[in-house]
């Protein structure tokens, strides 16, 4: 019975965690999956956003989710600038793709060090009414508990992900972004500037870091280097989901969330970081086109 109880609680926590993972990955799904820019610094930008949320919350008492929305334009702008630079120095000159990767890796490292210099290596938290409480009860003799911080993150993440998916599926801009992925020439023939489309799409992808950062600091205490642990999660999710597929990203995020929650419950939290990376390595080795089999990895 105790095993069953642990299992059910781990499953619930896993699904909620999956929603949080989806919010972390959705921006990368756009930047990497649709635009082919290997933004390895994505999780670190999310950590930067989490620190911004921390400042707004600690100094002005602003609700973390509201703070996430407030800083989103900032990250949209950052994405705009980064893509412009990336395009100018790497994409336009068709430099080796791997040099672009080194560029993002450098950004990751710089961001991390700047955060360490400004905030130190201590863990930080935020305050809000829904953090720390949980909702629970007994069902058929099994006691279930749902922490509010995970639940609120899940709800916001679901709105963010579904909203973005609808936007990309229904709007002209969304269709143009998919077209950029498939055929740049066709777009230019239609009189649309593919670079402008990509710049906006990248900025949207990075813009999601604002809200994802707020969710991160709601879910876990943060420190500057915590982003590294999520590199495995986000890339595993984006690759597993099939590059550029938003619904695939959601499913993969759930799978990873549940897997990580199960491992934490039954083997101990210190093994959790290995889960995502092991899944990532396994996917790359055996199923590189992702679950839905539409990715292009070769």
């Amino acid at each position: 019975m105790i095993i069953l109880e642990l299992f059910i609680n781990a499953l619930i926590a896993g699904i909620l965690l999956g929603g949080f993972f989806a919010a972390l990955s959705i921006g990368l799904s756009i930047c990497f999956g649709l635009l082919d820019t290997v933004n390895i610094a994505h999780p670190t930008f999310i950590v930067a956003a989490a620190f911004c949320t921390f400042i707004l919350n600690a100094n002005f008492g602003i609700d973390p989710i509201l703070a996430g929305i407030i800083i989103t334009p900032l990250f949209f702008g950052l994405g705009w600038v980064i893509y412009s630079l990336y395009y100018q120095f790497f994409e336009k000159t068709s430099a080796e793709a791997l040099r672009g990767l080194a560029f993002f890796f450098g950004l990751l490292f710089i961001t991390e060090v700047v955060l360490i210099i400004s905030f130190g290596v201590d863990h930080r938290l935020v305050n809000a009414a829904y953090i720390g409480k949980s909702f629970g009860g007994e069902f058929a003799g099994i006691s279930v508990s749902v922490p509010f911080r995970l639940l609120s993150a899940f709800v916001v993440a679901a709105i963010l992900t579904l909203g973005l998916q609808m936007f990309l599926d229904r709007s002209f801009f969304g269709r143009a972004t998919r077209a950029v992925h498939q055929d740049m020439m066709a777009l230019s023939l239609m009189g649309v500037d593919p670079v402008a489309i990509k710049r906006i799409a990248f900025a949207i992808g990075l813009g999601t870091c604002g809200i994802a950062g707020a969710l991160m600091i709601i879910v876990i205490p943060i420190e500057p280097a915590v982003g590294r642990l999520f590199i495995g999660n986000v890339f595993a999710i984006v690759v597993l989901g099939g590059l550029g597929s938003i619904s695939g990203t959601l499913i993969a995020a759930m799978i990873l969330g549940i897997a990580e929650s199960m491992v934490s419950t039954f083997f101990g939290p210190s093994w959790a970081p290995a889960v995502s990376f092991t899944i990532l390595l396994g996917v790359l080795a055996f199923r590189p086109t992702g679950l839905l089999g539409v990715g292009d990895t070769r």
């Binding site: 290997v38 390895i40 630079l85 120095f89 430099a95 080796e96 793709a97 791997l98 040099r99 990767l101 080194a102 560029f103 890796f105 450098g106 950004l107 490292f109 710089i110 060090v113 700047v114 360490i116 210099i117 280097a225 590294r228 642990l229 590199i231 495995g232 890339f235 595993a236 690759v239 101990g268 210190s270 093994w271 970081p273 290995a274 990376f277 092991t278 990532l280 390595l281 790359l284 080795a285 590189p288 990895t297 070769r298």
Partner: protein, 322 residues
Amino acid sequence: MIMRYKFEIGCVAFLVLAFILTQLGLNRFFFFAGFAVLQFIMIATAWNILGGYGGYINFGTAGFLGVGSYTSIALIQWSNVSIVPQIIAAAALAGLLGLAIGYFTLRLKGVYFAIATLALAIVLETVVNNWDFVGGAAGISILPTRKPELLGAVIVDRKIGVFGNYKEFLFFLIAGMTIFSVWVARTIEKGKLGRGLNAIKDNEEAAESMGVPTLRLKLIATTISGALMGAAGGIFPSYLTFIDPLTAFNLEFAVYSLAMPMIGGTFTWIGPVLGGLLLGTVQQVAIVTISSELNLLILGVVLVVFVTFAPHGLVGWFMKKN
């Protein structure tokens, strides 16, 4: 005739010089810092065999170094195996790891190899964190002074040993390993393997179509590169005397191993040597004079600036000038 063996003569001369330095009774800090710089050169050289010649970026330097370090620690814990077999075992294991990860990811686009190597470093760190035999997350102390048998009988003290203390011995050892690595890299560069890797870097499909066995060459390169990194890690615990997963698997190694060849120039063996010498020295000076965080910030900025504006590094810049 002498001109033809200029490089080999230079290697021997360097080793003789390194040996003489150990006999002068210099301050220990000199050997401590000298070791760090030489180890940097070795890491940069090893990284460049795959990254510079073949164009495949390895973010997992820390993983390979960590495997090397913890192989040594496991051997010490198991039965006080001495340093030379430690290093050989470390190299063998890291080389095998390179082969395995290469085999699973090198059929994919290059970025997946890069991401997989980063993933590897974190998986390994988690494993070591949970492995109490080698100290777990808390780390472990290795005290060569208390266990002289680890270093063989050559050093114990001035009276009977060749070297006055273990720092001098390790300095000489890393000098030999670094020279060996540079020789390996240069031999690859001047040979068929290096030319094949270059073709892969320029255009992999064209290389394969022109008869270059791309997968095999890449696997050879990951294995050699991994083994040399493993060796550089294998000597690490004896040098640091204390090691924990955070140190052994530090992301800084990935940044350094990328930045050193990029700054020096990735297309020739001189590049990583120059970059390693430069960044290694700056690091040793910066730790003493400014804060190490600021040093890392400068490192990151320098990496981005070189990747963006000077893809051929210092060597490329000098060659253009002449």
